[in-house]
């Protein structure tokens, strides 16, 4: 598959750039459940080298989002305070590479696994400052009208219900069995909604440790925008704060800075006040949304549609952690 794809890619990129290229390397990156990601290194006849990232849709994907959503989200933040890769091209057709895809320039830096403690040591503080501050910048970023219009089509108010309905549907379509903890969590969310904001933000949808690139003490790029949508900025905050991303050191969300510091940095950067009970709602929502993703992964694996071990891993370990988080929040609120 990879060899066939690399040859199709070379043909496509040569035609697209109107220059002849040869491949130096073409490697698939492990991880990610919604797209296949490839690191590509090419050079032209004058020995000019280019490093590219290709994101291509999979036959079987956990999260059904089109390439355009992700492309537009990246486009919304080009040349802003939110570091994102430079976009090159996007195609929703499958006649070029066999599936829809998006092409961008590779950024310098590496992405960490979100489940490894102290992975950012010794730069936790500097990276933490940037991580929470960039999230604040996403929350207050003004979206250009054309992009806003595109995202608005998918958005209904109230935002919380729009999102909860969406993920609740995934859970009940893909569930292998009844999970009383999760059902109790969903009922709690419907009965105790947060207040609706009178402004709208771009929500990244998967802003967390592991979805950014860093080089020593600097964040060089925010990645994986395929779940981007318009909504309440506390949604991203709740997701990024979730203890699942710092399971072995829960007081330091994302294994970066202390929770209270993270909230202060976010408030200063976004200029948005945080209502504690609304934030708690979004933190419980994050666990329910996480469960929807892990259940979907388990369903893909069990049905044989996609037997990548990442799907089994997702159904087992993150699924367990999010259930425990739901239980903790429910117990606190009895």
């Amino acid at each position: 598959m990879s060899q066939e794809l690399s040859s199709s890619f070379l043909d496509y990129y040569t035609e697209f750039s109107e220059r002849e290229y040869s491949l130096i390397s073409f490697e698939r990156v492990f991880g990610g459940a919604s797209r296949e990601t490839y690191k590509i290194h090419v050079k032209d006849k004058s020995e000019n080298e280019e490093k590219l990232i290709l994101r291509i849709s999979q036959d079987s994907s956990l999260i059904d989002t089109d390439q355009k959503t992700e492309y537009l989200a990246y486009s919304a933040f080009q040349d802003s305070k939110v570091p994102v890769p430079v976009m090159i091209d996007m195609s929703e057709e499958d006649n070029k590479l066999g599936a829809s895809f998006m092409l961008m320039r590779e950024l310098k830096g590496e992405a960490a696994t979100p489940f490894t403690p102290d992975v950012y040591s010794p730069h936790e503080e500097e990276l933490g400052n940037q991580f929470w501050s960039i999230l604040g910048n996403i929350a207050k970023h003004e979206i250009n009208d054309e992009i806003f219009e595109n995202f608005s089509k998918e958005t209904k108010k109230p935002f919380w219900k729009n999102e909860l309905d969406k993920w609740n549907k995934v859970i009940h379509e893909d569930s292998i069995g009844v999970e009383p903890i999760l059902e109790a969590g969903i009922r709690y969310l419907y009965k105790n909604p947060p207040r609706e904001k009178d402004f709208v933000s771009m929500v990244h949808g998967d802003y967390r440790s592991g979805n950014f690139l860093y080089l020593d003490n600097k964040i060089t790029g925010i990645l994986d925008w395929e779940m981007a949508h318009l909504g309440d900025p506390l949604e991203d905050l709740g997701w990024a704060l979730s203890p699942i991303w710092s399971w072995q050191d829960k007081d330091r969300p994302a294994y970066l800075v202390k929770r209270e510091d993270a909230l202060t940095i976010w408030k200063d950067s976004s200029g948005i006040e945080i209502n504690e009970s609304d934030l708690e709602w979004w933190e419980l929502f994050a666990a329910v949304k996480g469960m929807a993703i892990w259940i979907s992964a388990g369903h893909e694996f069990k049905s044989g549609k996609n037997t990548d071990p990442i799907n089994l891993f997702s159904a087992w370990i993150p699924g367990d952690i999010h259930l425990e988080i739901i239980l903790d929040i429910l117990e606190k609120n009895i």
């Binding site: 990156v29 489940f115 009383p180 903890i181 109790a184 399971w247 071990p309 117990e331 009895i334």
Partner: protein, 145 residues
């Protein structure tokens, strides 16, 4: 006496992680095989207790339903018989019991019965703890490294 299945799996996992996976040059395929090794390791560690854990969970749910719901004990007769059942049968019973538990908890929520709800949280926590593999997260970090 022959070595147990879980011992066979444990050794297979160790060989995959430590011996075969490092030989693969392609980064994607190496990570994928390493993940399989870690997942087999987790399976091996959970294999021995799978049946007894499910049986205990079913017993606990039946006890809770008898105590906190209005379901007639007789209606739980088939589900509360624990002898001579296979793992698949325990699993089938478990799905029915979980559905009953869920609907009974929903009734308690509507009645705002805090004490019974606390007991339901305790039950769900013990069920979750027994099944949980999240404490084995270190194994996956090890395989990624």
């Amino acid at each position: 006496m022959k070595p147990d299945i879980n011992i066979a799996l444990l050794n297979a996992a160790q060989e995959i992680i430590n011996r075969f996976s490092p030989l693969i040059e392609d980064e994607y395929e190496r990570s994928r095989l390493g993940s399989w090794g870690a997942l087999i390791l987790i399976s091996a560690m959970k294999l021995n207790d799978a049946s007894s854990s499910l049986r205990k969970e079913n017993m606990d749910i039946v006890d809770w339903l008898n105590k906190y719901s209005n379901i007639d004990e007789k209606d739980l007769d088939t589900l509360s018989s624990f002898n001579g059942k296979s793992l698949d049968q325990y699993d089938e019973d478990n799905q029915k019991l979980r559905a009953l538990l869920n609907s009974e908890i929903e009734k308690l929520e509507m009645l705002h019965d805090k004490d019974s709800l606390k007991q339901s949280i305790n039950l769900m926590r013990s069920m979750h703890k027994r099944r949980s593999v999240s404490d084995l997260i270190g194994l996956l970090q090890q395989s990624e490294n």
